[in-house]
């Protein structure tokens, strides 16, 4: 592969810009159009000769801006480029662009059929800013095995990269069931991974398909309530966790109710410190002066007389 030294001009319509190596194609943004109108085309696009004219190798946005204003295009010719060369030149020409995971996946999808696994990992990934041995490298490569609709969700930013691990463990049917969770909400990495993992594990634990779990846990209903994304995600997370840990959640709810009953009207807080391994409770307070300390002691004394303590200590025990 070679780049010509000379720059030629061509009409925009003679340049074919549909090649699959243009995997991040996007139309010209306003500032690029303005700059071209003000100063003209500062950098030539790259193209190769084709039977019908030219084939665009890199410079899609510039070409679309020039086409809009009917201007001639400055072209630097690329000679003897195969599919891999075209992809690499396109990458190099777009090196300034900030990348997201969807863009990285699009690039990997282009290179996958024309590269072996090792090249993909050790040559292409670093060009996308990913270390070959990193966790993200592993995740990105796993996304290549995901169905197209899920790859589209990643590209749209609906689902985080790390969600691939739990999604990969699911059956097609279960993946279909969780898809509505990602239509319309943008999930954080941890929330998405937690919810998907809880759903997958609940399905294993109860031997039920995820669709049933979504229904029974009320998650389907939450999706239909028209809540704000923040509220909806918070409630979906809570519902999935309750489905995954029903006994623990029930104990925690009862503990919280009893604890609130005991500490109501005081600045004391009560927590269960060890996942109910013991019947213990931890009381916490922050005091900043003598008056607060005195009040804390008085409150504690009153709290000590509340009969609800018995419930706290026996929670999770045999005679609970």
């Amino acid at each position: 592969m070679q780049l010509s030294k000379e720059i030629i001009t061509a009409s925009a319509d003679s340049i074919d810009d549909t090649g699959s190596h243009l995997f991040w194609r996007s139309n010209a943004n306003e500032s690029l159009s303005e700059s071209i109108n003000e100063f003209g085309q500062a950098a030539p696009i790259l193209a190769s000769k084709s039977d019908t004219g030219f084939k665009l190798i890199a410079g899609y946005s510039r070409l679309s801006a020039l086409r809009q204003t009917n201007q001639l295009v400055l072209v630097r010719m690329v000679l003897d480029a195969d599919d891999r060369d075209m992809g690499l030149l396109y990458l190099a020409d777009n090196a300034h662009r900030p990348l997201d995971d969807g863009m990285r996946l699009a690039a990997l999808r282009y290179f996958q059929p024309i590269s072996d696994d090792k090249t993909l990992k050790t040559d292409i990934l670093p060009r996308l800013g990913i270390k070959p041995k990193s966790k993200d490298a592993k995740l990105l490569l796993s996304w290549l095995d995901m169905p197209d609709n899920w790859q589209a969700h990643l590209a749209a930013g609906d689902v985080p990269l790390a969600a691939c691990t739990p999604l990969n463990r699911m059956s097609d049917q279960d993946r279909l069931a969780v898809e509505p969770l990602f239509a319309g909400f943008s999930w954080s990495r941890s929330n998405a991974v937690n919810v998907l993992t809880w759903l997958f594990e609940t399905s294993k634990m109860t031997l039920k398909p995820i669709a049933d779990i979504l229904q029974q846990s009320g998650m389907t209903n939450i999706l239909q309530q028209g809540l704000s994304p923040k509220d909806a995600i918070a409630r979906l997370c809570a519902a999935a966790k309750t489905a995954r840990y029903p006994e623990l959640s029930s104990l925690q709810n009862r503990f919280d109710r009893a604890a609130t009953g005991i500490t109501a009207g005081t600045r004391w807080r009560m927590v269960q410190p060890d996942n109910f391994e013991t019947g213990g409770a931890e009381l916490i307070i922050q005091v900043k002066n003598e008056t607060q300390l005195k009040k804390a002691v008085e409150d504690l004394e009153i709290m000590a007389g509340v009969p609800t303590w018995r419930e706290i200590w026996t929670l999770g025990g045999k005679n609970d």
Binding site: M205, L207, E247, L248, N275, T278, G279, G317
Partner: protein, 372 residues
């Protein structure tokens, strides 16, 4: 053409023997060679490991290698109990590492990622260390076992290790040896002089767990038949329910095996019986999910326990324990029952007492091991 005999099923994956140069003429190496003659493994390669090579490489898919090694570390160790739960205070005689059988819940998967079954072939060093320890004060009693980093009897057919150990310990009245296994091999019996100083022990589980989660092991019936043979020969046996698994239908499964026990042995034949719920280092769960994709019991209400290990939520453990203890009590079991690594709360809830009420678990088990 000579017909080759098959080795027991759990030994058939061995495809290579490595032996440290210094161990080539050890009794263990000679015995392994002899035991392989006439078997389907007669011609597997033997490789001598020179003293300057620091590790043995073996990676042939499902195949296993046996490595007869000169071990330089300590043979007699303490059980790695934690302070948060009551430990049985057992001492470990370290005879090797890794196991040819495969149980989905086995912790050894997290410890040893290779398929090399190591046997400490320098038995003279082992016996010297044990002799120094056990012989120092004949009034100090020891309850010891070999099944911590391996199964006590899994390689017995080839190595005769327990046979040698039993024979060596015949001279130490202050030591009771527990041989804990999921294999059936009673060849060590010929070496015993005192039936009250060896406790053959088998793990038991619900039948479906034995069928679906334990591979290349003996059946529950074979274990109970072996326990009966031992009891008839005058030994007391130990039976262990560890790990107890919480799966749909666990009541039926554990009731079935508990009832089956007493078709083979009487309560007085049983020195003690432990019950321990499945618990594991958090790193083990993904290993199990990877090695045993059909295993579902790992997806349950496990929470970090006081020792940092994942444990089933206490009410679920107590429910299972109470069910099992009630059933075992209905068959006449009582004081021989104990929990492996459980809290005072759980002891109290299930048994109505805790180890501090009888002076500590280690002390009680020591007395029971010595038949008091």
């Amino acid at each position: 053409m000579t017909k080759h005999v098959e080795l027991p099923v759990h030994l058939r994956k061995i495809a290579h023997v490595f032996v440290d140069e210094s161990m080539q003429d050890s009794p263990i190496a000679r015995r392994v060679r002899k035991q392989l003659i006439g078997t389907t493994l007669e011609n597997i390669p033997w490789t001598t490991v020179s003293p300057d090579s620091d590790r043995v490489e073996f990676d042939e898919g499902d195949a296993q290698a046996l490595y007869l090694k000169e071990y330089k570390g300590k043979f007699l160790r303490f059980c790695p109990g934690t302070r948060a739960y009551h430990c049985c205070g057992y001492r470990i005689i370290h005879i090797g590492e890794n196991c040819p059988m495969a149980c989905s819940y086995c912790i050894l998967q997290a410890y040893f990622q290779d398929r090399i079954l190591k046997i400490w072939a320098n038995q003279d060093d082992l016996f010297k260390e044990l002799g120094d320890g056990f012989g120092a004060d004949p009034n100090t009693r020891y309850r010891v076992g070999t099944g911590e980093f391996t199964d006590s009897l899994a390689l017995e057919h080839l190595t005769g290790y327990s046979h040698d150990l039993v024979s060596f310990l015949n001279d130490y009245d202050n030591v009771v040896l527990e041989l804990k296994s999921k294999a059936v091999d009673l060849s060590w019996m010929q070496a015993t002089k005192r039936t009250d100083r060896v406790l053959p022990a088998w793990s038991l589980n619900a039948p479906i767990i034995n069928e679906q989660e334990e591979f290349d092991v003996s059946t529950l019936t074979e274990r109970l038949e072996a326990a009966r043979t031992c009891a008839q020969a005058g030994f007391r046996v130990c039976l262990h329910f560890d790990p107890v698994i919480h799966y749909p239908g666990w009541r039926t499964g554990y009731a079935e095996i508990i009832d089956q026990i007493f078709e083979y042995v009487k309560p007085e034949d049983i020195a003690y019986m432990s019950i321990g719920s499945f618990r594991c280092m958090p790193q083990l769960t993904p290993i199990i999910a990877n090695n045993f994709p059909d295993t579902n019991y790992i997806y349950n209400e496990f929470v970090p326990g006081l020792d940092g290990k994942a444990r089933l939520l206490r009410p679920l453990r107590v429910e299972q324990f109470s069910f099992m203890v009630d059933r075992l009590r209905s068959h006449g079991m009582d004081k021989q029952l104990y929990f492996c690594m459980e809290s005072t709360e759980v002891w109290q809830e299930v048994f109505g007492y805790s180890p501090s009420d009888f002076g500590g678990l280690g002390k009680r088990l020591m007395a029971q091991a010595f038949g008091e």
